[in-house]
């Protein structure tokens, strides 16, 4: 079994002239128009630099680095870099193959800072080392772990016990440090269990008084092997796992995954399903922003706003429950549409929500937006310049708060977002206050989208009638031979996604939520890599902290909306 990774590439490509040397082995476009380059390892760094600096490419944004294991191949591992030019919207995919015995690549950290944690993840999961990486150690698994779990030959039954002496401690946190006045600075563990981390995250801080001198974050406490488990489940069975990525807006994850697979299958969900997906996704976005802002404000001592926002969330959960049966983890999207149709009073319920939500948002706005204490605590705190934010791979509200108007819904419309009239709120200061303002405005813009969507909710089916993908209706299975056969084949063999790979991305509540999918044509995914927006946000966090105070660390953490489920997968 092999997967051809260059099957859609052509020999002569308009961009081929840009690479005169022999570094680029093949160049071509995939079905989505993304430029795909296969690159030789020895020229990798220079080609990545060229892609960033050359005016023809200007790839200022590294969205993801992903490993793929092909045990039968001569060069066993593919490392895939997903790049983008945020201005033109062009997407690039750079693949480089490495041997198992000599699995070493030059680190791209010097080109894009975003490579920091993504490279650590590839090292952790596949054992590909990155030379020149400043801090190459395991990230999702712990220090006492052996082997690299996403390799195809890794035995998932193994158990590795983490003892206290193996707990990750950065070099600088080990020894005592004395400054000029012989005052000892202290090391403080913020997390993994701390009221402000809202999930299990850990940041080790070195403090002088309450000033943060150095910081390092540790993640992986909530690693649930999403990607490994996806490889042993059918395409449709992955959906419940996607709910648990960003569990504050589970609908968006499921829809994003379904769209990625539909994209590979070359099918589209029926119009009604698309509009319902938009409505529920935008409601989920409101919910996610509400939880983020509410929790952020609680950390700053303003508990009341949290309850106002949670009232909104409660009502939206009511709607999701009536549609999907579940509240937190809805599992409502299906490849090709939705699990079943919305309830009869759906439109009425959505319209009620449209009237119900704005007063709560207005209340918080009145209490907080111009509050002196709140502004003093958030303005100028945790500032990131637009260039730095892009270099760190930030997306979503946090990137827009820095002044970069990048929103996947506008830049690469999907699910009919081009039909809706909405604005992308952008702030310029890049601080915690800007992130608050952007999220508040996005709640209002999402309401605008929902209002337009519910006015134009089409009728018809909610799942495709392509029976390579969707099960035929039960009564037909009982009465028609052909439907029975389709049913049998789908249940026993699963959906057959054509071999190949594709990167599909949507606007999650925290930013670009990407799914890189490799299929070998069988009924289960060969490899699914999620690009979780939190991951890129959080890797910049310890760097922002240096020079600030402990209370600032709390304020910034809340405003980044780090969801451990998505971060650790």
């Amino acid at each position: 079994m092999t997967v051809s990774s260059t099957q859609s590439l052509t020999e002569r490509h308009p961009l081929a002239d840009a690479f005169p040397g022999d570094g680029v082995e093949t160049i071509g476009n995939d079905a989505d128009g993304h430029t795909v380059l296969a690159v030789d390892r020895s020229h990798l760094l220079e080609i990545l630099r060229q892609l960033r600096d050359d005016d023809r490419f200007r790839c200022d944004f590294l969205s993801d680095i992903c490993g793929v294991d092909y045990p039968d191949r001569q060069q066993r591992f593919d490392v895939v870099y997903h790049l983008a030019n945020l201005d033109s919207g062009e997407r690039y995919r750079v693949k480089v193959a490495v041997d198992e015995d000599d699995a070493v690549l030059p680190s791209a950290y010097g080109v894009w800072k975003a490579a920091d944690w993504f490279e650590r993840e590839v090292w952790d999961m596949f054992g590909v080392r990155f030379e020149g990486h400043p801090n190459l150690k395991r990230i999702l698994t712990h220090e006492a772990f052996h082997g690299h779990p996403l390799r195809k030959d890794y035995d998932p039954g193994q158990r590795w016990l983490l003892t206290e002496k193996d707990i990750m401690t950065p070099e600088w946190a080990r020894e005592e440090q004395l400054d000029d006045q012989h005052m000892e600075s202290q090391v403080l563990n913020l997390g993994p269990s701390h009221p402000a981390t809202h999930g299990t995250l850990r940041t080790v801080l070195r403090l002088e008084g309450e000033n943060i001198v150095k910081a390092e974050s540790e993640i992986g406490y909530l690693h649930r092997c999403f990607e490994k488990m996806s490889e042993t489940h059918g395409w449709q069975q992955v959906i419940p796992y996607t709910d648990r990525l960003n569990y504050c807006s589970s609908m968006i994850n499921g829809v994003g995954y379904a769209l990625a697979v539909e994209n590979m299958l070359g099918i589209e969900a029926p119009p009604r399903a698309q509009v319902v997906r938009v409505i529920l996704s935008e409601l989920s976005r409101i919910m996610d922003h509400a939880v983020c802002l509410g929790a952020n404000l609680v950390d700053l001592g303003a508990l009341t706003n949290f309850w106002y926002f949670f009232q909104i969330r409660e009502e939206i959960y009511g709607l999701l429950e009536s549609c999907a049966g579940g509240r937190l983890t809805v599992s409502y999207a299906r490849i090709g549409g939705l699990a079943h149709d919305v309830p009869a009073d759906f439109e009425e319920q959505v319209r009620r929500l449209l009237d119900y939500i704005p007063p709560f948002v207005a209340d918080v706005d009145k209490l907080i937006t111009r509050n002196r204490i709140f502004r003093d605590r958030t303005e100028g705190i945790g500032v990131l310049s637009p260039e730095e934010a892009v270099a760190w791979g930030w997306t979503g509200p946090c990137l827009r708060a820095c002044g970069v108007p990048y929103d996947v819904r506008k830049a690469h419309p999907y699910m009919g977002y081009e039909q809706y009239e909405f604005d992308v709120p952008v702030a310029t200061t890049g601080d915690t206050y800007a992130r608050y303002l952007v999220r508040m405005e996005e709640i209002r813009q999402s309401l605008r989208i929902i209002r337009q969507a519910i006015d134009n909710l089409p009728g018809g089916p909610v799942i495709t009638d392509d029976h390579h993908v969707a099960l035929p209706p039960k009564e037909k299975v009982y009465t028609e031979m052909e439907s029975l056969i389709w049913h049998f084949k789908l249940i026993f063999e699963g959906i057959k996604v054509p071999p190949g790979d594709a990167y599909h991305f949507t606007e999650g509540a925290n930013g670009e939520l990407g799914y890189y999918i490799v299929s070998d044509g069988s009924g289960t995914p060969y490899r699914i890599k999620v690009r979780p927006p939190c991951f890129a946000l959080y890797q910049a966090y310890p760097h922002i902290l240096e020079g600030l105070l402990v209370p600032d660390a709390i304020a910034i953490l809340g405003s980044l909306n780090i969801i451990a489920g998505e971060l650790d997968r």
Binding site: Q186, L188, H194, P195, A196, E210, L297, V298, D299, L300, G301, A302, L303, T304, W307, Y308, Q311, L367, I368, N371, I373, F374, D376, R377, L549, V550, P551, D552, I554
Partner: protein, 352 residues
């Protein structure tokens, strides 16, 4: 002789039990008030309107396991155990210099009750209150130190800096009141505020000394560690600061002292700036009835400020520590000084 002792014992028992009874009532008010502000119901299951909830809470706290963190041994353990007691003892003993009603010369068992105050002949009054109240910081610092926990320690250190800074502003803002009434005794301060100006403005200190009143109220919030000045606890940053490691009744002692302090602070605000038990245009009846009515008026005013504490807590976010210190030293103290300079200038002009 015996009557005198009996009167004092009755005062002590009544005052301390009323104070401690106010704690569960305030807990209920806080929780139901928070719920009202936050658009939810709050505890409403135990007793009518959930009024018995604090009793259930108390039973829960008493029956909980009392833990001492491992590594807290020897002298540290002694301090660890001592800290909550200091908090509660200080909180209650402050109140003995606080008068809470008008005494038209009543007698109990043939002995004059000497005003509704536990220590009537203490001519230091307000000075005693500040002196004792400032001991409260020891409980927080000792608890923070002895807990063997970095977050607790940070809470303790913050507490010492915060309480010392705001004590200064608090004390200076009272100077104007003391100058006007010419006495440290709080009964004299209240008596000075009876009557009206121009027949309709109460002679309360808040009107001529609005700056002093505001600084005092703000400093009172800081001294009681209530939002927006609860940096000592700051649940999101410091877990809950100095009492993170405490459980059971030791935690309850801190908790109760916070509410007792709130009662004391509200009483002081009322006495110093809002005329105590006086109400303009209202002649207090003679005898016991008059005394009860004056206590009632005082209680209503105190209740308003207690509610004010709750109201502010659920409205505002929390300061950052350096901002808090900047506010204390660069804004509050200059304002307090300005207040007493203005009062002094006013008095001098009138005497010209």
């Amino acid at each position: 002789m015996w009557a005198e002792i009996l009167v004092i014992v009755i005062k002590v028992v009544v005052v301390s039990s009323v104070l401690l009874t106010l704690v569960p009532i305030m807990v209920w008010v806080e929780r139901r008030g928070a719920a009202m502000i936050q658009d939810r119901l709050g505890p409403n299951r135990v007793g009518p309107f959930g009024l018995l909830q604090p009793i259930v809470d108390a039973v829960k706290l008493i029956t909980k396991e009392d833990l001492t963190p491992s590594g807290v041994k020897g002298v540290d353990r002694l301090l660890y155990l001592l800290a909550p007691s200091i908090a509660l003892v200080v909180a209650i003993s402050v109140f003995i210099a606080v008068p809470f009603g008008f005494d038209p010369g009543l007698k109990l068992f043939g002995h004059a009750i000497d005003g509704f105050i536990v220590a009537p002949n203490l001519n230091l009054g307000i000075l005693y209150i500040f002196a004792i109240a400032s001991l409260g910081v020891y409980s927080v610092v000792l608890a923070g130190w002895a807990s063997n926990n970095k977050y607790s320690l940070m809470g303790g250190i913050r507490a010492s800096a915060q309480m010392v800074s705001y004590e200064l502003a608090m004390t200076i803002s009272v100077v104007g009141v003391l100058m006007v009434s010419g006495s440290f005794g709080l009964q004299d301060v209240v008596l000075h505020q009876s009557g009206t100006w121009f027949g309709f403005i109460p002679r309360w200190n808040v009107f001529p000394q609005i700056i002093g009143a505001i600084t005092f109220i703000v400093a009172a919030f800081a001294e009681t560690n209530r939002l927006p000045f609860d940096l000592v606890e700051a649940e999101a940053e410091l877990v809950v600061g100095y009492h993170t490691e405490y459980s059971s009744m030791r935690f309850a002692a801190f908790f109760m002292s916070e509410y007792v302090n709130m009662v004391t602070a509200s009483s002081l605000i009322v006495i110093l700036f809002f005329g105590g038990w006086t109400l303009p245009g209202f002649a207090t009846p003679a005898g016991w009835l008059g005394a009860l009515v004056s206590i009632g008026i005082f209680a209503v005013k105190v209740a308003f400020f207690l509610w004010f504490f709750v109201w502010v807590r659920w409205t505002l976010p929390r300061f950052r520590f350096d901002q808090l210190m900047a506010l204390g030293w660069k804004t509050m103290i200059p304002l307090a000084v300005l207040n007493f300079l203005l009062v002094g200038a006013g008095m001098a002009l009138r005497n010209l």
